[in-house]
Every structure is written in C-alpha cells, then in structure tokens.
Symmetry: C5
Subunit: 92 residues, 5 copies
C-alpha cells in the first residue's frame, strides 16, 4: 500500500452506473517521511477520510475487493487513516 | 484513478471478438492542476465522453469490471466525466 | 491500452503447458504520434497481427480474459490492429 | 516478487473493516545486492517478519490471494523471509 | 511478457504456507537485444529454467493463473525458455 495525504476532492456527475454514491478524493503519494513522490491521483474513500489526513491506499484491481457481490471498476481505495509511522532503520 | 483529458480516437476494425462495438478514446493523463504527465494511451468509453472532456480513468484489470457475465481483455476505462476538482492543500 | 508496433517474434519450445500453440510477438510501445516509449516486450497475438502492424495492446492480468474457462498466465495481449488514429487536440 | 528490507511499522486504527487484525510493515525495496531502489511502501505481514529482515514481497492484486473465501483490498504481502541470495552471473 | 535472463537463486525457509516447494529465481529484465533494463526481481519457475537461461516472464496477478484450484500470492512467473528472438524492424 502507498502512503499519502488527501489533498482534495473530485466531482463527476456523469459516471459508470455502479459508481454512484462513492466518494472520490485526491491523494498525493508520499514516502514514509512525508516527502511527496509521483503524481497525485483519485482514490475512493469509504472510511471517512478528509483533506489533510495521512492515509494508506491500495492501488490496482484489489482496491475493488470490498464489493463482495460484484467488483467495481476502480483502481485505488483508501484503506486506512494512519495514526503513526515508526521507522526503525534509517530510511534510504 | 487517473485524471486526464480525451484528445482523440482510435479505430481498429480487426480486433478481439469480445471487443466489437466498444468505443476507444485516447487519453492524455494529467495532474489535478492540468499539467500533462506520462504517455497518452487508449481507454474504453461507455459514458459518452468526447474530445476535450476531463475524465477519470481506471487502469489495470479492474477496468474490465463492468462486464458482469465475462470480463473483457481491456486495461483502461473512462469511469467519470469530471465536473470540478477542488484542491484544498497546495499541490506538490 | 497501449499503442505500439510489432517488431519481431519470439520462439520458446519449453514453456508453461497452457501456453502451447499461442503466438508471441515483440511490441515496441509508442505514443499516438508514433514516437517510441518505454521498453519492447512480448505480447500474445490471436488476431493475425504481424511485423510492422500498429496495434493496441492490453497489459496486465486482464490480457488473460479471453480464456473463458481458465485464465492463462500471460500479461500482454494484442487486442486490435489499428486502422487510424485521430488526435483532435495538440498532443502533449 | 520484489526483494526488500523491513524498515518500520504503520498503525491505523480507522481502516476498512476486512483489514482489522492485519500487521502492516514498511518495506524498502532493494536490488539483490542490497541497494535501495524506488520508494518505501506498506506491506501486510502474516509470517512474523520484523524490522531488519530481508524479505520477498508480492505486489499487486495477487497479494490478496491468501484469503480463500474473500479477497481483501491489499496490494502488497510479505511472502518470505530471505535466508540467502545467490547471484551466479555478475549483476547488471 | 518481459524478456530477461536468470541470474541467481533465492532461498526462504519461512514463507507463506501455499508457497512451499516452489522454486524462486532472480531474473534481470532485458530488451530484446539483451541490454539490461529496470531492476532484477524474483520469479517463480516451474519449467526447469536455470542460471544463464533467457526467459519470458509474466508479471502481475496473472502469473498466478497456473493454479487452477486456488490462486497463489505470487506476482512473477517464468513462462518460457527462449529459443530465439527475431527482430524484423530496427529496434528503437
């Protein structure tokens, strides 16, 4: 999972039918030390994350694994709001 | 999901049988602020997107999750036409 | 899906049993304007593509979605031979 | 699978329900010779790995393949604690 | 699929239960012309590949598609030992 910070929201009225009602947030991926890496992208949130929260994001097709009956066409899901990170070895 | 803008169309008469009738668009991926990133690619559209639209794209195998009976061999699907993006924290 | 051009063939007598009889081609990925990007790789072809053809390739696990009874261990499939590409907005 | 070293822990009280009880570790990916590459990320551990261990990590949706009844929304799993690596050809 | 050369072995006594008995090799990915690209990684081998062999590797979740009853948590599988590569167009 990737570490990141929620930096915004996306609204899209017209979308695939199965995705109505989902919340879409913009996440800036980061290293464990908080440095930004790569490009910001859109992730689905079902656990109440908001702007400024440090989160863990599952990317790729397993992000759709919460829908037990039918998988949805999404590729990023916020799976946790991070309380703390403990780096024991000097990060390279 | 990746943010991007539809910049063109692709036509392919000869293709895998399961893909007949699908619409293929070219998407230029972008940061939330509209800067182009990475390489343009082909995505399937089922929601009526057209050239110039800012869209959200699901990439990878979950892009095929709309076909309930049998998954198709595609790896990118336009899942929403973006109305607006709200960046609350300065984008890095 | 990625745009690319077929540039060669690969032969492998010894392979996973399920893959006997498949045709393996080498594809050079490209931007819509034909510039080469990234590294050439091997894709399965079932639609009669050949050297010099401009093709669309599905990458990742959904490339195995043509096998309805049992998915094969492949990660790239040529899904269409491109007739034409129309870029409406200046490509970035 | 990617080779890496466990460098820390992540705690997240608020998370997707299915993920309660899982252990999340931070892994720094490496080349076989131990040089760090790419960005550190979070992986699930079920085999007792700890800080300083050299591990093999499966990334992407197959990392969820341990859950036979229902796949979880995770994208990285520590699948082995490495005893030794033997490079026979000079590593490039 | 990616082309590469087997350059070594990895041993891990402690691993996910489902993976006992599998052989893990280190593969250096290459262009069709043999130039090394990207980072070496670990792949499962079931077809008898060994150090020095030029191979095709399936990466990502479809690498687990050989296990018909239950998918394993692996993300790279050697699917063929390459006999020859024929590049018809000058490789870019």
């Amino acid at each position: 999972m990737q570490i990141g910070t929620v930096i915004g929201n996306v609204w899209a009225t017209k979308k695939e039918d199965d995705l109505q009602g989902l919340k879409f947030l913009i996440v800036q991926p980061e290293l464990p030390n908080g440095s930004a890496i790569d490009s910001a992208y859109v992730a689905v949130d079902r656990i109440g994350a908001g702007v400024g929260d440090k989160v863990m994001v599952t990317r790729g097709s397993s992000s759709a694994n919460f829908a037990k009956e039918h998988s949805l066409p999404i590729d990023a899901l916020i799976i946790g709001i991070i309380d703390s990170i403990d780096i024991a070895v000097e990060q390279r």
